[in-house]
C-alpha cells in the first residue's frame, strides 16, 4: 500500500513538478504559514544530539511566538534515525508531501551527503550542522548554509592556541576513524605544524571501539598534550578511561568541538576540571541573546545547551533575520537564499555571524576551560578568536587546491612510532 502510494506520489511530482513550483511561488505570502522542515534523529545511537537539536528549535520558535518575519510557522519534524537511506526518504516526504520551503538539519555528515544531490535538484535551502568540509568547499551546494562550523574550522584554532599560547611542541592526535575525526585532526595538524609544533603520533580507534585501554597504553610517553576529536559519547568515554589510567595529571587533554560538550559535562566529574576545548559556542558566553537562550533551556529542559541545541537555535535566528530582510517572502527562493547567505546577524547566541560565498559561517571561535561554578561544571571562555573562517588565515584558493583533509593529508612529517 505504501509502495503504491509513494509510486503514485513520485509520478505526480514527476509529471507536475514544474507546474507545482510555479503555483507555490505565485502563492500570496501574506498570512500563509511558512512551512519549515526539520530533519533530526530521535531514535538510535545519535539520538542524544538529535533531541538537543529539537530542543533548540522548539525554544527558538517559542520565543518568537511561533512567528518568523510576521508569518506563522508550521514545523514538520522527521526522525531519520541517523540512517542515510531514511534521511533520504524523509527528505522526499518533507519536500514532496509536506511542501516545506526550507529544511533545518540533518545532523550527521553522511546524512547530508545522502540527500545533497536531491535537495540541490529541488533547490531546497538546507541549514545543517553537518560538518563535512567539502559541502562548503570543493563540492559546494549553492542551497546549503551552515551556522555552526566545518570540521576543521574550530580545530585550526586549537592548533594555533596550542602552538602559540600554550607553547606545546609535541602533540598526539586521537579521533574516531571517520571523516569527521580525520578532518578535525588534519586541521589541527595543519595549523599546529605551520606554527612550529610537531604531531608525533596519530591514533584512530574505530567508531564503535568497545574499550580505549589499548590506545591509552600506546600513547607516546613524551607528549606535551593530546588533541582528541571524538564525536558523540566517545569523547566522554575516552576521557573517563584516560583518567581511570591515572593519566589525568600527566598529560593535558585538548578537546575538539564535540569532545567536552555541555550535554555530557555534568557526568564527567572533577577529573575534567581544567580541560581545554575549542568550540564556536559555550553556554557561558556573556551576551544578551545567549543569556535568554541558556535561561530558556534551564527553564524548559533543566540543562545547559551544548553544540547541537545551540546549532539549531542559532540557525533559527539566522533564518529569521534572512526572512525579515525579504519581508517574509520565502516563496522567492533565489532572493531568500541570497539573503540567507549575505546577511550579517550581529546578535546571535554564539556572537556575530556572517557567511562566506560557500554558505559557511564566519564567526567567533572560543577556547574554553572546564571549571566548577556554583556546583556545576561549565566551559568558561578563556580566549576568543574573532571572525574565524573555514579557511583559517590561509588563502582560500591555495587552500582549495589541496585535497580535502583526511587521515594522511596533510602528510605527517614527525610521526615517531
Amino acid at each position: 500500500m505504501t509502495m503504491t502510494r509513494r509510486a503514485a506520489l513520485a509520478a505526480t511530482v514527476g509529471g507536475f513538478g514544474l507546474a507545482l513550483t510555479g503555483v507555490r511561488t505565485a502563492r500570496a505570502a501574506e498570512g500563509e504559514p511558512i512551512r519549515l522542515g526539520f530533519l533530526t534523529v530521535k531514535t538510535g545511537p545519535l539520538a542524544s544530539g538529535g533531541i538537543q537539536m529539537e530542543q533548540g528549535v522548539t525554544l527558538a520558535l517559542k520565543e518568537r511566538n511561533n512567528m518568523l518575519a510576521g508569518r506563522p510557522v508550521t514545523l514538520f519534524t522527521a526522525d531519520t534515525g541517523g540512517v542515510p537511506a531514511n534521511t533520504r526518504s524523509k527528505t522526499q516526504e518533507l519536500i514532496e508531501r509536506d511542501n516545506v520551503q526550507c529544511i533545518l538539519g540533518p545532523l550527521a555528515a553522511f546524512e547530508a551527503l545522502a540527500i545533497d544531490d536531491y535537495t540541490q535538484s529541488q533547490k531546497m535551502p538546507i541549514m545543517s550542522v553537518a560538518a563535512a568540509e567539502d559541502i562548503t568547499q570543493r563540492k559546494p551546494d549553492p542551497w546549503f548554509v551552515r551556522c555552526t562550523s566545518s570540521s576543521a574550522q574550530c580545530s585550526h584554532v586549537m592548533g594555533d592556541y596550542a602552538a602559540k599560547d600554550l607553547k606545546y611542541k609535541r602533540v598526539a592526535l586521537i579521533a574516531d576513524d571517520i571523516a569527521y575525526g580525520h578532518e578535525q585532526n588534519a586541521g589541527f595538524q595543519h595549523v599546529f605544524e605551520d606554527a612550529g609544533g610537531h604531531v608525533v603520533q596519530k591514533l584512530w580507534p574505530p567508531l564503535n571501539a568497545p574499550d580505549y585501554g589499548s590506545y591509552i597504553a600506546q600513547l607516546n610517553p613524551k607528549l606535551d598534550a593530546i588533541f582528541m576529536a571524538f564525536a558523540g559519547s566517545n569523547g566522554f568515554r575516552f576521557s573517563k578511561q584516560f583518567f581511570e589510567y591515572g593519566m589525568g595529571g600527566k598529560v593535558p587533554l585538548l578537546g575538539g568541538m564535540t569532545a567536552v560538550d555541555e550535554a555530557v559535562l555534568q557526568q564527567m566529574g572533577d577529573d575534567a576540571i581544567g580541560m581545554l576545548s575549542v568550540n564556536w559556542y559555550s553556554a557561558q558566553l556573556d551576551n544578551p541573546a545567549n543569556k535568554v537562550f541558556v535561561a530558556g533551556m534551564q527553564r524548559d529542559y533543566k540543562v545547559d545547551p551544548g553544540y547541537y541545541a545551540a546549532g539549531t537555535y542559532v540557525s533559527v535566528a539566522v533564518l529569521d533575520a534572512a526572512l525579515k530582510s525579504v519581508d517574509g517572502k520565502i516563496e522567492d527562493r533565489e532572493a531568500f537564499m541570497h539573503a540567507l547567505r549575505t546577511n550579517q546577524v550581529p546578535d546571535t547566541a554564539r556572537g556575530p555571524v556572517r557567511f562566506d560565498s560557500f554558505g559557511n559561517v564566519v564567526g567567533n571561535v572560543y577556547i574554553r576551560k572546564v571549571e566548577r561554578k556554583g556546583g556545576r561544571l561549565v566551559n568558561s571562555v578563556i580566549k576568543t578568536y574573532p571572525d574565524v573562517s573555514q579557511f583559517w588565515t590561509y588563502n582560500q584558493d591555495a587552500f582549495l587546491k589541496n585535497p580535502v583533509y583526511s587521515r594522511d593529508n596533510p602528510p605527517a612529517k614527525f610521526i615517531e612510532n
Partner: protein
C-alpha cells in the same frame, strides 16, 4: 617492557569482561540453537539499571543483584511469551530476538535519554594501582577476578548440579534428553533466566569501564558472537578461552595493525567458521 605489561593486563581485563558478556550468550545458543540477538540489548539494560541503582548511593553488589534479577526475569518473560510460540521455527526466533533488541534499545533511550551515563566503580577501586612504576586501573583487575569467580561458579553449576547435568544433556542431544524424562521446557526457562541474568550482571560490571550509552548494545553483540563462534557454542570453557583470545587479539591487534583493528578481530572467526565450524571446544556445529 611497560607497553607489553600494560597491554597484557588490558587483554586479560577485556577478556574477563568479554566472558561476562558471552557466557550467557553461549548458554542460550547451545541449548536453544539460536543466537539471541537481544543479548547486547540485555547487557545494555543491565548497565542502565545498574546506573540507576548506583545513583541512589546504594552499594555496587546490590546494583549487580538488581540488574541480574530484573534482566533475568525479563529473559524468562521473552522466552515464555514469544520464543516458545515459535518453537521449531528457528528463523522466526532469531528475528524475534532481533526485534526485541531494537525495542529494548529504544525503550532505554526513552527511559534514560541519549547522553552517556557513567557508573562509578566501588569506592575502594577508583584510584589506579601502581605496579612496577606504572599505573593500571584497579577496577579492571577486579573485573578479571570477578569474571574468573563467575566462571568457577558456572563450572560448578554445570558439572556438579543436577540442573547442570540436564543442561549439558540438552545441549548434546535435545531429543534424547527429552526422551529420558528431562522437562526440556522447564530447562529452557532456567537457561534463559541464567543467560539473561549473566548479560545484566555483565552490563553492571562492565559499566564503570564502558559507561551506559545508546549503541552499547550494538557495540557488544558482535564481540559476543566472535567469542562464541571461536570458542564453540554451548561450551563454557570455549567461552572462557575465546574471551581471552579475543581480548589479546583486540589489544595487540589495535597496537600493531591499527589500520586492520577489526580485521584482526573478525578474521579468526571467519577461519573458525571455515575450518572448524564447531569452534575450539564446541560440540555443536554453528
Amino acid at each position: 617492557m611497560q607497553f607489553w605489561l600494560i597491554q597484557t593486563l588490558n587483554s586479560l581485563a577485556l577478556g574477563g569482561l568479554l566472558f561476562l558478556l558471552s557466557s550467557g550468550f553461549s548458554l542460550i545458543f547451545g541449548l536453544l540453537r539460536i543466537p539471541n540477538l537481544a543479548h547486547g540489548a540485555l547487557f545494555m539494560l543491565g548497565a542502565y539499571l545498574g546506573a540507576t541503582v548506583l545513583a541512589q548511593d546504594l552499594p555496587f553488589w546490590l546494583a549487580v543483584l538488581v540488574a541480574g534479577l530484573v534482566v533475568g526475569l525479563g529473559g524468562v518473560v521473552v522466552e515464555r511469551l514469544l520464543l516458545r510460540r515459535l518453537a521449531g521455527n528457528e528463523q522466526g526466533q532469531v528475528l524475534v530476538t532481533l526485534g526485541i533488541a531494537f525495542i529494548l534499545a529504544d525503550l532505554c533511550l526513552l527511559a534514560w535519554g541519549g547522553d552517556p551515563i557513567p557508573l562509578a566503580a566501588p569506592s575502594g577501586m577508583r584510584r589506579p594501582l601502581l605496579l612496577f612504576g606504572f599505573a593500571f586501573p584497579t577496577y579492571r583487575l577486579a573485573v578479571l577476578v570477578l569474571a574468573l569467580i563467575v566462571a568457577l561458579l558456572l563450572y560448578l553449576l554445570m558439572e556438579r548440579t543436577r540442573l547442570g547435568a540436564m543442561i549439558r544433556a540438552g545441549v548434546d542431544d535435545r531429543e534424547m534428553a527429552r526422551a529420558t524424562g528431562i522437562r526440556v521446557s522447564y530447562l529452557f526457562g532456567c537457561v534463559f533466566f541464567l543467560g539473561a541474568a549473566l548479560a545484566g550482571i555483565g552490563g553492571v560490571i562492565g559499566g564503570p569501564i564502558l559507561s551506559a550509552y545508546p549503541g552499547l548494545d550494538a557495540d557488544m553483540l558482535p564481540l559476543a558472537l566472535i567469542v562464541v563462534i571461536l570458542g564453540g557454542v554451548g561450551s563454557l570453557l570455549g567461552a572462557l578461552v575465546g574471551s581471552f583470545i579475543v581480548g589479546f587479539l583486540y589489544n595487540f591487534g589495535t597496537a600493531f595493525f591499527p589500520d586492520f583493528a577489526y580485521v584482526v578481530l573478525f578474521l579468526p572467526m571467519v577461519l573458525a567458521l571455515g575450518f572448524k565450524p564447531e569452534g575450539l571446544f564446541g560440540r555443536v556445529r554453528t
